[in-house]
Structures are given as structure tokens and as C-alpha cells.
Symmetry: C2
Subunit: 778 residues, 2 copies
Amino acid sequence: MRAMLLALLLSCAFTPAQTSGPPERRVDSVDPFIGTKGMGHCYPGATVPFGFVQLSPDTDTAKYSLDGKTYRKEVYRYCAGYQHGDPTIVGFSHTHLHGTGHSDLGDFLVMPTVGPLRLEPGKADRPGSGYRSRYRDEVARPGYYAVQLTDPGVKAELTATSRVGLHRYTFPRSAESRLVLDLVHAIYDYEGKVLWSRVQVKGPDLVVGTRHTRGWARDRHLYFAMSFSKPFKAYGQQGEPASVYRGFWRKWDQTRNFPEMAGTRLRLHFDFDTEEGETVLVKMGLSAVSEEGALANLRAEVPGWDFDGVAAAASAAWEKELSRIDFAGTASQRRTFYTAFYHSLLGPVEFQDVDGRYRGVDGAVHEARGFTNHTVFSLWDTHRALHPLYTLIQPRRAGDMVQSMLAHYDQTPWKMLPVWSHHGQENWCMTGYHAVSVLADAWTKGLRGFDGERAFAAMKATATKSEFEGLGDYLKFGWVPDEGNDASASKTLEYAYDDWAIAQMARALGKPAEEAEFLRRARSGRALWDPKTGFVRARKRDGSWREPFDPLQTHDQGYIEGNAWNYTLAMPHDAAWLVKQAGGPAAFGRRLDQLFTMPLDDRFFAGTEDLGRVSMMGTYAHGNEPSHHVPYLYAWAGQPWKTQERVRAILGQMYQDRPDGLCGNDDVGQLSAWYLFSALGFYPVAPGSGQYVIGAPASREVAIALENGRRLLLRAPRLDAENLYIQGITLNGQPWDKAYFRHADLVRGGEIVYHMGPRPNKAWGTAPGSLPDSLPLE
Amino acid sequence: MRAMLLALLLSCAFTPAQTSGPPERRVDSVDPFIGTKGMGHCYPGATVPFGFVQLSPDTDTAKYSLDGKTYRKEVYRYCAGYQHGDPTIVGFSHTHLHGTGHSDLGDFLVMPTVGPLRLEPGKADRPGSGYRSRYRDEVARPGYYAVQLTDPGVKAELTATSRVGLHRYTFPRSAESRLVLDLVHAIYDYEGKVLWSRVQVKGPDLVVGTRHTRGWARDRHLYFAMSFSKPFKAYGQQGEPASVYRGFWRKWDQTRNFPEMAGTRLRLHFDFDTEEGETVLVKMGLSAVSEEGALANLRAEVPGWDFDGVAAAASAAWEKELSRIDFAGTASQRRTFYTAFYHSLLGPVEFQDVDGRYRGVDGAVHEARGFTNHTVFSLWDTHRALHPLYTLIQPRRAGDMVQSMLAHYDQTPWKMLPVWSHHGQENWCMTGYHAVSVLADAWTKGLRGFDGERAFAAMKATATKSEFEGLGDYLKFGWVPDEGNDASASKTLEYAYDDWAIAQMARALGKPAEEAEFLRRARSGRALWDPKTGFVRARKRDGSWREPFDPLQTHDQGYIEGNAWNYTLAMPHDAAWLVKQAGGPAAFGRRLDQLFTMPLDDRFFAGTEDLGRVSMMGTYAHGNEPSHHVPYLYAWAGQPWKTQERVRAILGQMYQDRPDGLCGNDDVGQLSAWYLFSALGFYPVAPGSGQYVIGAPASREVAIALENGRRLLLRAPRLDAENLYIQGITLNGQPWDKAYFRHADLVRGGEIVYHMGPRPNKAWGTAPGSLPDSLPLE
């Protein structure tokens, strides 16, 4: 094992960044193709930081069967609509989820064609059977994407602002040049997905429209305004029979040049005569509010036709965001780091018109006052590291996200904070109510851009919603009984952690009774400890255990996306108790070693679609989130050097500088946020604690420009392939012996020096008092 | 014939109204059941004048097959959702079209039930198979409806404001009392009609929701806010499977007490414990803008729970509207007159929220500034008499309707005035572009509440839209060629009349070139005159006639809702030319006589679903509109006394004081408006001329309170069953020998006296210069 680990480490030399020549731009280190092949579920297209528009090529979207019986692997594979290396591109759609394990969006696909009209996408293995095209010469940079579409002979270039996608197509000479707008196309596509769509042609260069879709987001309205740099000579639609289109009387030929088209199967074309090398630009503004809003967004963000200017502005916006962290390393290290950073900034996106109006989860239009509304909250994933990352490096936006969650709470008739929310919808995906973790983390770390009392009321209401999956039983029995509850063990553990986070908020607000109540609830995970097997297990109402039990098995055990080996450790707030149950620190350490090193046979992977071998280390599964904090638990075993080893191994093995370089779904940036924290040398094991457990820095020098104007310099001057272990740490010149940092220490700025050496210093970080806080043992 | 005519007339004695006792309220003379059986397509429920809400019982709605192959008679029969005498009531829905020949609406059905939960309506012939109920003791008055539902033992009472329906249900004692809210129910129902619906429970007495439907209106959004006088103890839905409801994960039992329900097949129930005789009130505000708008409408119009007060206010609103005309007559005459008047005020309804916002035909939300927005424009029908009625008796509202049409024009991407429009949709139903008639009629009669130039521009744009059905060919060939055009002869005639109306507008605005151009187009009907047969016929491009030709046949002849006998006379603006072609006045008179007296066999009625024998007089068909002016054409034959005879006969035969008393669809009040004008003694043969052809008064005394503050008294002091013929007329004491009145004469107010006698005065109204204007002969 050690040999393998070192081999991995040797592949990345720890050299400082170049210091001569023109300053290297951080955007030049981003490779948007990383994570676009295999499990990453990333898209390579054009977007700006936290931009609502993600204009990106779709190579396929797969079909889903609504009866729920066939959740095809292909649908999962195409969560982002793209797999690197696919033979064809279907077209360019304006919305994509980043890294999710469930698919949706893919709105408003545009595709250039030349030749006879084809309004069906056609088959990837039958070139010419539809409008899709083979391609070459893909280029992707932050805010820019280009490709040569070989079938029509058109070069396509894409860029974006937050609410506008801008396309530039370079056509050959033809009297049959077209742009297809496919309103049937969707990611997470199935029969009946499009509830309704309507397009109005306002003039020969302006089209507005809307689409209402079911899907993962159950009931999603999206509007667009689409402007062309050159007037089309004709237009039309196919696919929508007139009998559906009108109830009674036919007045017009509604397939050609009729300026209102509507229905559930609309595919449109806009026709042009083009000269050789002529460019036709299209810009599409999006809004979830109205067509008028889409038009206002379009006009505000891209008033003209300066494609290169918009692309340069997008690049500059990325450079500005990425400049919050200066990371020194080899070109490949920087590419991995800055691409992870880039991926972490695709996360919850801005979701409002330029005038501040947005569609709430109640379906009504609201105005965001005093904050910027955000959406795409994949909280089961992102409460772990992505939101804490924002709290550290961009607390202003973190505050916006908190406000967005509180607005969501206000707007729901069921009065709960978001669970998995996007585009004004609650998807109820995954378990727990982890928004409370985000709120507690923000508040306890000093964010004051929102009303703490209001936040606490929402947290408490959310945590006492007895109708919510098993929560009533959890309150009654002390755990979520296995009967009638999927993933009862996972739910119990997650509720317990979330309750601990609420208790931290209660303490910060001076609410001792509520603090005590939620601390009591936070111990609920203990009830699932089975002393006989030594695992946390799903438990029935009568206290008996779910059988049969297989601690290696992920399915049918009462867990979700993890097995007993991993979930038993999913008590980040109660680690000391766990250590005690395991038989003390040494035994706990052996348990962790066993987790990371046990051999796994192929059976483990059967039916576990999220995971490939690359994402595994023993039975530790990095491709799913429940164990993301586990490498850092060695601190409680008194073996912080093993955290350093494991973290380095994971950084090296599971984040590679290539399209299939992500070992699992990036999950709206959680996987990347793990990378960022770990590369800095610390990780928020229990958000809400205000503490980061120290790991292993990955760069000799990192500088963080904090929003409060201060600068935090992280140095590891001796770090190289030999000197991998922390010998000691100095914080602003003072020795730092604890196994963790406090948030307050970091945001004061200054300098942390990791003193590295070739062998573990087993004394550092292991003295009494070195450990982060856990729940008291009783 | 004469014998039959007199027999009919004798059935209604011409006696003056009571003058002793308390003053009779006009609302007491309205019987909302008239027209609810058979062809009238009226509903008996509660509404206010021009109110957006029509809260009425639905006895059935029938199912339509979307493939267009089966347009079932039943669907037609249930255009208003109600047929008098049906065995059961399904429930009470909030929107209904009045008198139309195409069905739609029926939104938001509420029904009380007692006992086990049943959320399917069930079958009419199987009591207890669903929530529908047998009933007795129906009562209907303007603004109020009541019925005893015998299956649950619940008394239901309904009243309304413009935007709110208020229900009062008197329950028996039960722990299983419920109110069903069926969001699948619809008039013009078919599989897939509901594109989406969503309900949010905001509290135990407040629910908001929305429904998006296809239908006749292709793409209609309606929102509601529903408040209960008593909190429900529980609620739920059935019919919407969770697999459709959520894409991925089940969190809740979404059938019981889950406060957000959505899908395409939602049927909800709200449960109560009730004591014997306990009333539960429900009020539902509607909006086409948003749920917020619906709630604001609800709170503004019905803030409390004073059912009787709201019903009294509705009654008072009706009394106020009906008091514009004082009509003297027997109880039955007054019932027929005031019910017709009532029916004429159900017409284009107010379509905006209390804050002036409404959903335009572009799907966007607009604000009505300086006018009240109206919808339900059945212009092929209503341009004839209903809109001219408004121009005469309520020009302010007529101006609002003109403004609404201009706003519609502005909002369409195709830039045309409405053809058949309701709830922010263009249905494109029937032929012509008769909005221009309404605008020209209003302007030439002196309405100045809108911009004439803007109106003319819209009229001209509408009339030059060459893509519109056959209009390009009409402009090219001089008529709509029969090839590829349904109803080519009807279209030609209608375009020609509409063009004449535009010419009147052009003249009024001082546009001689455009006046000449549209006068030229107004002669287009002449091109269809076939001298060989003496009929106006469908003609091909090469000038040949459509064959085979049967002048009695309505179908497959190039006409719509009429045959050659009727359509040949459909040139109200070109009557003099028609008379000349027919061989002069005497021959023309014989032709009219033949039309009204020819025997018709049963074959005529085959396949003519709109018409029963009662609507026929010879081959004159009063149940359809194209001939509504024809009885008045005797003026051009020099035989005004025959107009007097025919009009009396039609008044007596085709408007009866009983549920099946209407001979045809009331068509949003056109049939009733014909009654009103005819009963006053004149009719607008060619709207836009500013002239009314004189017919036969039906009352000894009618007083019209004009909006300009003046009073027009119409007296026929000697009128009785003997003295049926006009001997002469005096207008403010001066003899009036013309066969027509001018609008300007009427709105000055004063007194018109019809001097009646037992025999025709063949000299009156027949001297040279007595005739209304027609197009010049060349």
C-alpha cells in the first residue's frame, strides 16, 4: 500500500510556480474538459461564475421511461448532457446541472444546419439522419467553447453572461443555412416532459418563447428571448399537428412563417442565405419570470453583437473569481487545482432577473430585496464542504445563499428549508435537512448578513416537521425506525448531525433550552450502535436490528450511498463517542486502516452505479459523500499523519488532470470543494463547529485573498515528494499544536507555515486538548 | 301563414305594465332558466353584469375526442355545461360561456358531499357512483342560484361578484362532510386537456392554485384563491400518482394533508364535521394573472362572509343595469324582454384583476390603463346587434371593448384585431374580421373614448393580412376563390361588408384614398352573383362556379351556417345593388316572401346541428346569424309592413318564456340583442352606417335612459293584437317618413311615437329617399 501511495505521489512534483515571464492567468489553468468523461457529470460549455446560463454542447440526453421501472444507466450517464469522446453533438442547450447524480434541464437547444430541413436530432450512429453532427477541434476555456461541426461545415462558438447565451456560427456558402431551435430536446427526457411550449416571432430577428416542463424539477417554467444578428428569411415549425394546435378551425398554414407556435412537440427552424465564412450570431436571454424578463435580461447583459468582448468579459469574471486563491504548483497541479476551483464556482447559480424578480418555490414571482437569489441546492452533498468553502472565501455570496434558502422556506406551503432545490422547485432528493448545517455554519462563523432569529425559526420548524420522512418516528423512538422508512440508518445519522448544527445555532443565539433539546437529539445516532457487530445499523421500532446484515453491502441495509463501514463513521459531531465505542483511539485507528485497505471484489460494484474502482480505497468510497470527512477522523485516533497519508492518496488518485479525471459525480462542486480544502491542508469535518481538521497541504505556497481585505498565506516551504509529513505548524509565527484550525484564526489573515518532513511527527496534534470539539460523551 | 302569425300574436296581449302596488323590480322579471334547455346554451347560475365569474351548476360536460374525428353532439349540447331537466348535478364551476356554439371553461368545480370519500363524478344514471347528486327545488335569479342536492342532503346556494364566486352549503349532521374541488372537470373536456394544475394549502381555511388547460382557448392559465368559512379538519387528493408527482424520491404521503399538490389529474377533498343545518361557506377569487392576483381579487370583492349581502349587491347591480330600459308589457312579455336584456349583459366579460392587470393574448401580463379590459369576443355573431346595442345604451363599456380589442391587436405577434377571442387567447373561430365593424360602428356613432387613427391602422392591418384565410386571394382575384378555401362565398361576403365598414371609418377620419380603396373592396360580393341561378355562389379562380349547387343546402356549398337563399342576402351594405340584380323591388320582395314561406322537409335539418324546426321560417334560419338582418330588407322592397310582420312572427315564435324558449344559441347575447332591438322597433342592418331600419315595436311604452343623461321614450299607444302596423311615426312631434332612424336622432333623446293601426300603411317609409344608405350602384 505504501509503495502504491508513493508511486502516486511521485507523479506530481512539488515545484513552485513560475516566477519569470508574463504573469500566468489562472483561467489558463482551467480545463473544462476535466470531469466530462465518465462519472464526473461535468459539461465543457460556456458559463460565468454562478451564472444562470450554462451554454454547452449536448452529445446525448438519453430517454427515461416515466413509469419508473426503467431508470436507465444512460440517463444517469448523461446528467450533464455530455460525454467526452462521443461521436456526435446534438446541439447547444442553455442550462445544465454541474456534476449531479440526477439529470435535468437542457433547455432551448440551438443547432446550425446546412442543407435540406431536418428537425429530428437523428441517430448518433447514422450520420445525416437528423440535425446532429459529427465534430472535431473542440476548445473549452472558462466562458468560451468552440467546435467544428463537420456535417454542416459550421464552426460553432459559445460564450455567456449570467442570463444570456451568445452563439457565433460561421457558415459555408448556402441558400439552405438554418438554425434549429428544438423545444422538445431536454436532459432527463421522457414522453410528456414538455407540458407546453410557445414561441412568438416578434420580428425577423427577435423571437420570444416559453417552455413548461416536468422532470426532476416537477413544474418548471422557463422563458427566453432570442435575437439574431441577421434577419431570417423564413421560419417555421414541424412536429406540432394543427389538430392539437387549434381546437376547431384552421385559418393559417401554421408550419410556415406563422408568428405564434405552441404545443408540446415544437421544433423550429430559422432560415438564412449565407456566404462562405459568414457568421450568424444568436443571443438568448433566459428568465424564470417572463418573456419580458428574458428580453430585459438579454438587452441588459448583451446589448450588442460583440462576441469577442462578451467572451473576454466572461474570462475576466473567471479570472477575478479564481484570483481569490493563488496556488503554486506545476502546470498539471495548477490545472487540477484551478479546475476544481472553477467547478466549485459553478455551484448554486444566480436565479433572478436583472430587476431582482424571480420565480419562487410557490410558483409566484418575488423580488429579491437585499440579496441575490440563488438556486440549485444539492444540500445532501454540498453542506459538507462546498458551502463551508463559500463561508471562508466568499462570505458575501454565502450570505446570499442563506437568504435564498430563507426565502424558499417562507414561500413553501410546507414550511421547510430546501432539501434539493432548483429553478424554484423542491425535488426532495436525498435525505436529511442539511440546509440547517449551512445556516449554522454561516452564523457560527460570523456571517451576519441575515437575521439569526428568523434563520433559527426556520431551522427549528424544518427539524420538527413530523410528516417529513420518518422524522415523527425519529422524535418518538429516538431513531428512525426501519419499518416503512427507506435508508432509516442514514436518516437517523443525518438528522442527528443536523440537530447538532441547530444546537450550535441555538447556543450562538443564547437559547439554552433549545440548545439542550437539540443536543439531546444530536445523540440519536448512538441508538443505532450495535455492540455485537460494532456497526451502526438500521433498527426497528422494538429495538431489534434489520436483518440480514452485510456491512459491505450498500443496498437494502438501511443506508443510502454507503455501507455500514462508511455510515458507522457518519457522526462527525460525535466522534469522541464513536472512538469510545470502537474501543479507544488505537482500535479506532485500526478500524480506519481496515476501511481504507481492505480488498474489495467485483461484487461490491454490482448495482452501485455511482462508483468505479478508481473512486474506492478499500471500502472507502470517495465518489459518494457520506465519508468525505472520514480521512480526517484519524485525528481522533491520535494519528493525524495517517490523515496526511490518506488525503494525499485521495488527491492523487481521484483527481486527475484529464477528462475522466474525476472519480465520481462532482455533485454541484462538493467533490471539488473537498479537493480545494484538502489541498489547502484542512477540512470542515463538522460544519457548524467553526473548526477545520488539519490534513496535508498540496502546495508550497497558497495565498487566499479574504473578502474582509485580509490575506491568508499558507506555506509549506519544504514540501516535496520526500517531505510529506507535518512536523509542526506555526500560525503567525506561533507554534500551533492542535489538530485543527478555528475559522476565526483563519479569517484574521496572516501566515500559516506547515513545517514538512519525511517521516510522521507522531507527537504533533496528538496531545490532550488537540482535538476538535465533539458532543460530550454523556 | 297569416292565421298562424295572428295566433302567435294573440298569445301575448299588449297591456301596459302594472302601475299600482310597489314598483316592480326589473330583476324579478328575469328568468335565468330561459335558454337553458335545448339550443340556447345558457347557464342558470350566479353572475353579475359582465362579470368574469359565472358560478353555475354543471349537469354534464361530455367528452371530446381530441383526434378531431368525433365532435360529438353531446359536447355541443353541453356548451354551457347545463341542460335543464337533467337528472343530476355534477357540481358548481366558476366559468361558463353564455350561449356559444363551441364549448370551453367550466373551471374549478366545487361539490359538497357527505359520506365515504368519492372523488370521481360518477355516472348520471347510477346514483351514488360518484360525487354527483340528484337534485330538486332549483331557484335562479340574477346573481343567485340555489338547489337542494338530494343525495348528500345538502342545500347549495351560489352568488358572485365580478371576480369571486361565493358558495353557501347547508349540511346535515355528519363527521364525513366534505367539499370536493375537482381540477380535472372541464367543459369541452378531453384527455389531456389539463396541461398542469397545482394547489397550495396556505392554511386550514385558505387554498390557492392554478390550472393550465388546452381546449378551445389553446393555452389558458387561470388562478384561484379559495377561502373557507370554517377550517377543514383534513384534506387530500387522489388521482395523481406519486410517480408522476415527483421524479425520484418519495418523502411524504402526498395524498393526505400535504400542502402542495400538482399534476394533471388532481381531485381534492376538504373534510369537515358538521352539525345539522350547519352552513359552510366557500369563496373563490379568480385571476388570469396569478394566485396573488386571485387572492387580492377575493379580498377586495368579498372580504367577509355575508352571503346575503353579496347576493343583494349582485341583484342590485343587475337592477341598475336593467333599469337602463323600462319596458312595459305583460308579466310574460317583461320576462322575455328582461331575460333577453339580462342575456345581452353576460356578453364580453371583464378580464382583469382589481389592480388592472390582465393576461394578454401574448401570454404576458399587462395593465389596462384608461379602460377596463374585456374578453369573450364572439365577433362573427356579436358585431351584428350586440355591439351596436352597447354603442346605443352603454357607450362607455362599448369604448372599453374597443380598447380591449386594440390592446389585443397590439399584443398579437400576427397584428390582427380579434376574430374569436376569450381569456387572452385567439381561437380563430368562424370567418371574417368583424372587429372592424365594431370599431367603425362605435366611431361613426360618435364614440371618442379611443384613438381613431390607431383604430384605423389596426383595421387596415387586419384587412390586409394576406396570409389570413383566403384574404390574399381575395385581394388578388376580387373574391375568395373556392379552391382551398372553406366557406369561400361566406368569406367573400363578410370581407366585403367588413371592408365597407372600414371605408366608413376612413371617411369619418378624412382619408379619401383609403375610403375609395375599401369601397372598391366592399363591392367584392357582387362578383359572386350568378345571374343564371340568381344566387350568390362560391366561385373558382377561373370564374367558374362551384358545382354541384343546391341553394337549400348548407353544407359543402361554400357557405358557413347558411345556404344560398340566406347568404345571397348577406350584403347589408349593398342592398340596393342586390335589389337591382333580383329584378327590382317587387321581385326582391317576392324573393324575401319565398325565403320566409317555402316549405322545408326534414332533409334540411340533417347534419345541421344548430337548427331545430322552431328556428326556421321557410328557409330563413334565425338560430344562426347570417340572416339576422334579412327581415329588415323588406324596406328595400318598398314593403316595410312585411318587416313588421316577419319581425313580430320571429319575436313570438323564437323567443319563448320557458327553458327551451330560445330557438338557437344565444351566441354571447347576439340572439337576445336581436330581440331587444326588434322589440324597440328598429335594427342595425349595417353597423357602421349609423342607421337603424325600422321594424315593429313590441311594447306600448319603452323608456331608454341614455348614458349622456338623456331619455328616449318609445311609445306605441295604440299597439295591441289588432293594431300591429305602423301608420306613421313622429319624432319629437315631427312626422318621420323614412324607413330608418339615424343614431344621432336617437341619442338626442326625446320621444318617438309609433302610430299603429290594423292594416299596413303602404305609403309610409316607401317614398324616394326613405331607404338607408347602400353602396352606390357603380
